[in-house]
Symmetry: C2
Subunit: 458 residues, 2 copies
């Protein structure tokens, strides 16, 4: 419910004049931040609302989960990112509802205060969350890796499992702790199993007195016939071979069919198998943010199976030229849920809003420029596939590193990231960022029920 | 309760032979890690038990709370710290009881499993926690800064307060959010108010559109007649003047007498005052770990007002030459609760155990070598006081930085810390490590009751 007094309060607080065009952007990810930046100097007041205080560089999130990078390097404060953009501001709040006829975004601040943000133009860029295809109960057993909280939980979970494996009373219990199953062999799944294999077989054995970590089993379960389905078959075969050399058990044409606290059941081409495993990680699918559903209902736009909304070719909503949606929550051209479509759509929509503010010509439809695919596998090994040029191994790895560092925000973070990689991945093979506490470990080793959620993930 | 089967299990799991001397060290802080290192190559099996997986470099904890350093740089994994020491191992567990006659340490693993660790020599180095001098209810309103969890909470709390200040409905509410009160003007209190002043007056104003952060009030409340009571009066006066120049309201001869969720009442030389303030930080006193009380009861050793145990001059317990205690939990020579006594006692006890194992001469009593005091105040400003040589300003700051980097573990962490300081403190004045999520902010802004604790602090 939107309170009128709250609307006025908010206007005053934001020091917005009634006369200036107000753009509200929901989400400070790749989509939202690129809309914002494209509006630099535009004659509009821009407000970015996000549930966190940072812009998350999701492609390197698995490195936080693996203890390689500290969070700060891939999550600069949104306020800091837009500090030089005088017409933009940011708000830490959770958007709960959209009042499309009234042109008001309803949010709630962390202290419970309701906020009403009136807009002239709205950009919804609230991304996607993990989808369990009708098995929502699996979320408890096999968390995904979309947010920094997810990465914190995953890191605690993995490190706690290794800590406990040494104390296991029976070989069966030890096997539970030392079996890691990743479901889904897209880039996230491949990068995660690669890091798990390095942790178990390269990094941790140096720190443990017993043979325990090296005994870890790492499984990559994929329902389709190949890893990295979006990549060229040559790269798929290379990736699978490299992973197997690193000790990863790659199971293709295999689906998860059941899960519990300490096991997972998979159905392969030949048989069903129940695998004892405390750690299951979901990298098999996403669904659009619930705001896509709200927009679809109000505007009559369709949604696909993943809940992604069908926007018009200019990323606006049917009948509502003042509302745009970008990134993982839209189904335009069936683009993959990676950074590039969100970045390009964000820039496009930002330019389109600028053009409208100047009353210049109608925009051309959004056109995606495919910059290719990349994924790391492990130590000095990655695959890249761009405009038919394909690289593997050290060359692929160098290209991957170069591109990812370049897309980080702030030169300070770029240099720190390169230093951290040189240290963690090339020279010492240490993982410097792997702090856990007793309480974190206790939470991760529990049944995740009756103990209360850990807000913030750590 | 100690289960016999668990004892045997534990021996077997630890791959300890019954014949080798077993040293159990409780706590992996400055005391514990220095005992461990001094036992390198000794004919003994060394087990370090800690509630976390890391060795915390506490003197830089305030920099984690202030968003300057990522946790990993000051908290390397204990396993990694001792990786080259073949006779030492570490366990993530919470020590619950000491069976002195039976020579067994009772602990519990994070998964709830009871652990019984038999020892021939025991070193208890479990430090100290915040003491509220009969006002334990203040712990809820004014948390301290002893652990990484504390630093995580404090960082979230401070950043959330600034986030909410912009949204405050009334000037009174805004003042609550923007008033930060630190109780206790020892090094930790001084360093904290210095960082709060820099955040509010230097760092955040660049990131905010409004004048809000600069309006912050930062108070340092000290019951005694001077800041930094252990320092030379010249340095005390310098520190107070510098803090006041930085906008800190220093209140001497002033004690906290009441607290609530959103205010603190202090009694100064002239009057009592209730100050609206959401953020209160406790840096006014500590009490020894509860294990000091258990040891005192069993061995008949005395404890002082802070619960610190009176050990013999060689750090052993009366009547129990096989038990040592070191660091903040002992009252030997009334040394201050800083790193140096713990480091030096740890080294001393490690050497003493080695000498005993070789049956060499009885040890001389522990003798503390005073290396002086240091504290940072703020940007390029610190005070150092060593053997009558006193420095302030940039020279003091450089010496402070040099000494602290030198004491960090691992060259990789030293380089990364120097880089981070150059970036955060000298050039950009940014704080790169300030990630918060909606859930963290919501927790910190709540009444800290009825919402459950956040295990792990984030």
């Amino acid at each position: 419910m939107v309170l009128k007094s709250q609307v006025l309060l908010c206007r005053e607080k934001m020091r917005m004049t009634g006369s200036r065009h107000r753009v509200v952007i929901v989400g400070g990810g790749f989509g939202g931040i690129n809309v914002t930046r494209a509006l630099t100097g535009a004659d509009a007041d821009v407000t970015v609302v996000d549930r966190t205080n940072h812009h998350l560089f999701q492609p390197l999130l698995y490195q936080v989960a693996a203890g390689i990078l500290p969070e700060g390097l891939i999550a600069p404060a949104l306020r800091n990112v837009i500090r030089k953009q005088a017409n933009a501001r940011t708000l830490l709040a959770s958007v709960e509802d959209l009042d499309v006829p009234g042109r008001i975004v309803s949010a709630v601040a962390p202290d419970g205060r309701p906020l009403a943000l009136p807009y002239d133009t709205l950009v919804v860029a609230s991304g996607a969350a993990d989808a369990y295809f009708g098995h929502e109960e699996w979320a408890e057993f096999a968390p995904g890796l979309k947010t920094l909280e997810d990465a914190r939980h995953l890191r605690s979970h993995i490190l706690s499992a290794f800590e406990m494996a040494e104390l296991a009373a029976t070989p069966a219990e030890q096997a539970q702790y030392l079996t890691f199953v990743v479901i889904g062999a897209g880039p996230t799944g491949v990068e995660l199993v690669g890091q798990l294999a390095e942790l178990a077989h390269q990094v941790l054995p140096r720190d443990y007195r017993s043979a325990v970590p090296a005994e870890a089993k790492i499984l990559l379960v994929e329902a389709g016939p190949a890893v990295l389905s979006a990549f060229h078959p040559k790269l798929q075969r290379y990736t699978q071979r490299r992973l197997e050399e690193m000790g990863v058990d790659v199971r293709l044409n295999t689906a998860a069919i059941a899960m519990s606290h300490d096991s997972i059941t998979v159905r392969g081409p030949e048989r069903e198998e129940q695998i004892p495993a405390r750690t299951k990680i979901w990298a098999a699918g996403v669904q659009a943010s619930p705001l896509a559903g709200i927009l679809a209902e109000v505007t009559g736009a369709g949604t696909d199976r993943a809940g992604r909304i069908a926007v018009l070719p200019d990323c606006s909503l049917p009948g509502h030229p003042e509302i745009f949606a970008v990134g993982d929550m839209i189904s335009l051209n069936q683009l993959p849920g990676v950074a590039q479509p969100a970045i390009q759509q964000g820039k496009y929509v930002g330019k389109l809003i600028r053009a409208r503010l100047r009353d210049t010509a109608a925009a051309k439809p959004f056109r995606y420029r495919d910059k290719g695919n990349m994924a790391t596998i492990g130590h000095l090994s990655a695959v890249t596939d761009s405009s038919g040029l394909r690289f593997t191994g050290v060359i692929g790895y160098t290209m991957w590193g170069f591109v990812h560092v370049l897309y980080l925000i702030d030169w300070g973070n770029r240099i720190a990231t390169m230093y951290t990689w040189a240290r963690a991945l090339t020279f010492t093979k240490n993982r410097a960022h792997r702090v856990i506490t007793f309480e974190q470990a206790r939470y991760e080793l529990g049944q995740h029920s009756g103990e209360g959620k850990i807000p913030g993930g750590l």
